[in-house]
Amino acid sequence: MSAAPPAKATQPVDAEPERSGPRRLLDWWLTFLRHHRPALVGFILSSLILLIAGLGPLVLEHAPDAVFGRFEPTGGEHLLGTDSQGYDVWSRIVYGGRVTLWIALSSMLLSLTLGTIAGAAAGYLGGWVDLLVMRGVDFAMSFPSFLLAMVTIAILGAKLENVVLAVGLVGAPIFARQVRAEVLRVKTNEYVTAARALGFGNARILLRHVLPNCFAPIVVLGTLTMGSAILDVAGLNFLGLGGDPYTTPEWGLILKQGWEKRPYGNLQVTAAGLAIFLTVLGFNLLGDGLKDELDPRTRRR
C-alpha cells in the first residue's frame, strides 16, 4: 500500500506469456512483488504453506494415522501433542494441508473452468446463449452461496469428493459473470475484427485471441477464490457435511474433532484454525495485490 506503483505499470501486463517468453513474465512478477509489499507477504505466506503441505509429509516423524496414547502433551515426541484418537496433531495438520489445499484447488479450478466456458460462450456468442447463461447466473446467485453448497451436499451426500463439487459449482457463477464482462470488453478490439476478417472460426478467435486477453482478471479472481474456497471447504467439513473426522486429516475436520473434545482439543483447534487463517490470508493478500496491479479499473490509481 505504501509502495510506489511499479515503474512498468503502463505495460500491457496481460499480454500472452507464450509470445513474450517466460523470462518476461518472471521479470514482471519480481517487479510486482518488489513494489507491492502486502503481495510479497502473501506470496511468501502461501508458498511457505504450499511447501510445507507438499514436502512436509516426506520428512514427518509420524504417519497421520499412526496411533499413540490419547491426549499426550505437547513438546517432546509430539510437537502439538496427540488428539482424542491418539493421532499426532502436527502430522495431521501437515497432511491436512495437503487435503484441504487439494480440495480447495480442485473446486476453484472447477469453478474457473465451468465459469470460463459459460461466461465466454455468453459474452462471445451473445443472443439466446447469453440470455440463458446470465439468467442461470442470476438464479444461482439468488441463494446465499454457503446455503447452496450445503444443499448440494444434501443432494450428493456428505463425502469429501462432494465438497469439491459443491464448492466448485457454487463458485462458478462469479467466474461466469467476470469472464463474460471481460470477453465483452475484449471482443470490441480491432484485432478481433481483423481475425474475423481473415476468416478464422469462432473457436479459434475465442481461444487464441479473446481468452488470452481475459487472462489477468481470471488469475486475480482465481487467487481470491482460493481463499474463500478454503474457508468454505473447511466450513462444510466443520459442520459434518464433508469427510469423516476420525479418518480424514482435513483442517476443518481436525478443528471439528478438537471442538467436540474441548477443552482437551483446544490446542488442536487453535493450530488448525491458525493454519486455515494464515493460508487464506496469504491468498487474499496476493489476490488483492494482483487485483491492484492487473485490474483495469484500479490500475490507474
Binding site: M1, F139, V151, I155, F238, G240, P263, A272
Partner: protein, 417 residues
C-alpha cells in the same frame, strides 16, 4: 423511474417463481425417500408403494407442483418426520432467533464497518489507514468458526462449561479479556472526535490529548461493561439460560410475544433484567458474526469514499466553509452510498443464510442450525421450507436494495428505459 421499479419488481417475481420451482424439485433431487423415512422399521415395498400412492408421490410432476403451490398458499410447509412437529411451528422459534442475531450483527457491522471505512478514507496511506485495511483483510480471512472458538475461550464465561477442564480454559484468559474488548470498543467509539473535533478542541491534535481521549473512551467502554455484566465472562450457548429465565415458556404462553427476545423482554415483559440477560447471550455471537460483514463494508466504504473525496465538489463544499462532518456525511457519504448499500444488502442475505457456523459454535437455535440438522437427519420438509424462506428473503432483500438506488441516486433508471 417507475418503469425501472416495475421492471425490477417483475424480475424479482420471475426469480421467486423459479425459487419455488427449484425448491419443489429439491424434493425429488434429494436422495431421501420420504416413504422409507415414514415407515421406518415397518418398511416393505408394498407399504411404501401404498404410502406413495396415498400421498400422491406417484402423480405426474405438474400435478404435484400444483399441489405444492396449494400447500404453500395455505401456509402449510409440511411436517418434520423426525420430530413430527409441523415445520411452521419449528420455524416460529428458529426464524426470530436468526433474524435477531443477524440484524444485531448487521447493525454492529454497519456502525463499525462504515465508521472504519470513513476514518481510513480520510487519512489515506497513513498508519491509521494501513492498520484499518489490515484489520479488514484479517476479518475476511478469519474462519468464522475459529473466531467463535477464540471468542469463547477468551471472553466467554467458561465457568458454566460443564467439563472437567474448566480450570484449563479459565487459565487461558477467562473473564478479564472481555474488558479489553469493551475498552477497545469504547476507544473506537470516541475516535472520530480525533478527526472531527480538532477545530473545536485543539488539544486533540496533540498526541497527549489524543491518547487521553482514547483512554477515557476505553475506560468508559470497560466501565459500561462492568456495570452491565459484572466480573464474569459472557454466557455461552443458546439465546438464554432456561434455569435463570425460562423464556421459552414465556414466549409460548404469553399472547403478543413474538419470539424476538429483545423485543419480548423489553416491551412485552417489561423486565430490564431479562433484557440484559438476553443481551449478554446475544453480544458475543453477534460480534463474531459481524466480523466478515464489518470487514467487507469497511473495505467498500473506504474505496467508495476514496473516489468521492477527491472530487471537485467536495473541495467546493469545504471552501464554502461547511464543517468537516457535514461535508463528509452529507456530501461525500451520500454519493458514495450506492456500493455501500449494495454491500449491506448482500451481507444481510449472507447473515440470514450463512450464519450456520456461528450458530453451531454458540448453539444458537436458528435457521442455519435448522438446515444442517435437517440435512444430517435426512428430513426433507424442514430442508425445503428453510431453503425456500432464506432464498425468498434473499430475493426480497436484493429487490429492496435495487429500489433504494432510485432513492439514493435519482439518475438511476432514467437513462435506460
Amino acid at each position: 423511474m417507475l418503469a425501472y421499479l416495475a421492471r425490477r419488481l417483475a424480475l424479482s417475481g420471475v426469480l421467486l417463481l423459479g425459487v419455488v420451482l427449484a425448491v419443489f424439485l429439491l424434493h425429488h433431487a434429494l436422495p431421501m425417500d420420504p416413504a422409507a423415512a415414514l415407515l421406518g422399521k415397518n418398511y416393505s415395498a408394498e407399504k411404501a408403494h401404498e404410502l406413495r400412492e396415498s400421498r400422491g408421490l406417484n402423480d405426474p410432476l405438474p400435478v404435484q407442483f400444483a399441489r405444492y403451490l396449494g400447500e404453500l398458499s395455505r401456509g402449510d410447509l409440511g411436517t418434520s418426520h423426525v420430530s413430527n412437529v409441523p415445520v411452521t411451528e419449528e420455524l416460529k422459534a428458529a426464524l426470530p432467533a436468526t433474524i435477531e442475531l443477524g440484524l444485531t450483527a448487521l447493525l454492529l457491522a454497519i456502525l463499525l464497518g462504515v465508521g472504519l471505512g470513513i476514518l481510513t478514507s480520510l487519512r489515506p496511506r497513513t498508519w491509521w489507514d494501513v492498520s484499518g485495511l489490515t484489520l479488514a483483510l484479517v476479518g475476511v480471512s478469519l474462519p468464522i468458526f475459529w473466531l467463535g472458538f477464540l471468542a469463547v475461550a477468551v471472553f466467554g464465561d467458561n465457568g458454566t462449561l460443564e467439563s472437567r477442564g474448566q480450570a484449563l480454559l479459565a487459565s487461558s484468559g477467562g473473564g478479564p479479556g472481555i474488558y479489553a474488548l469493551a475498552a477497545l470498543g469504547g476507544a473506537f467509539l470516541v475516535s472520530p472526535f480525533l478527526v472531527f473535533g480538532r477545530k473545536t478542541f485543539p488539544a486533540l491534535a496533540r498526541p497527549l490529548g489524543a491518547i487521553t481521549l482514547l483512554v477515557v473512551g476505553g475506560l468508559l467502554g470497560a466501565g459500561a461493561l462492568h456495570f452491565a455484566f459484572g466480573f464474569r465472562g459472557l454466557p455461552l450457548g443458546g439465546r438464554f439460560d432456561a434455569s435463570v429465565w425460562p423464556l421459552n415458556t414465556f414466549v409460548a404462553e404469553t399472547p403478543g410475544a413474538t419470539g424476538f427476545l429483545l423485543y419480548d423482554t423489553l416491551f412485552v415483559a417489561r423486565d430490564s433484567e431479562a433484557f440484559a440477560h438476553v443481551c449478554s447471550h446475544l453480544l458475543l455471537p453477534a460480534l463474531v458474526l459481524s466480523s466478515v460483514p464489518t470487514a467487507i463494508i469497511a473495505r467498500i466504504t473506504r474505496a467508495a469514499m476514496g473516489e468521492v473525496l477527491v472530487q471537485d465538489y467536495i473541495r467546493t463544499a469545504k471552501a464554502k466553509g461547511l464543517t468537516g462532518a457535514r461535508v463528509i456525511l452529507k456530501h461525500a457519504l451520500r454519493n458514495a452510498s450506492i456500493p455501500i448499500v449494495t454491500t449491506i444488502g448482500t451481507q444481510l442475505g449472507y447473515l440470514l443464510g450463512g450464519a450456520v457456523l456461528t450458530e453451531t459454535i454458540f448453539q444458537w437455535p436458528g435457521m442455519g442450525r435448522y438446515v444442517v440438522d435437517a440435512i444430517l437427519a435426512s428430513d426433507i420438509k424442514p430442508l425445503q421450507a428453510s431453503v425456500l424462506i432464506v432464498a425468498v428473503a434473499f430475493v426480497l432483500i436484493n429487490l429492496a436494495v435495487d429500489m433504494s438506488y432510485a432513492w439514493l441516486d435519482p439518475r438511476v433508471g432514467e437513462g435506460r428505459q
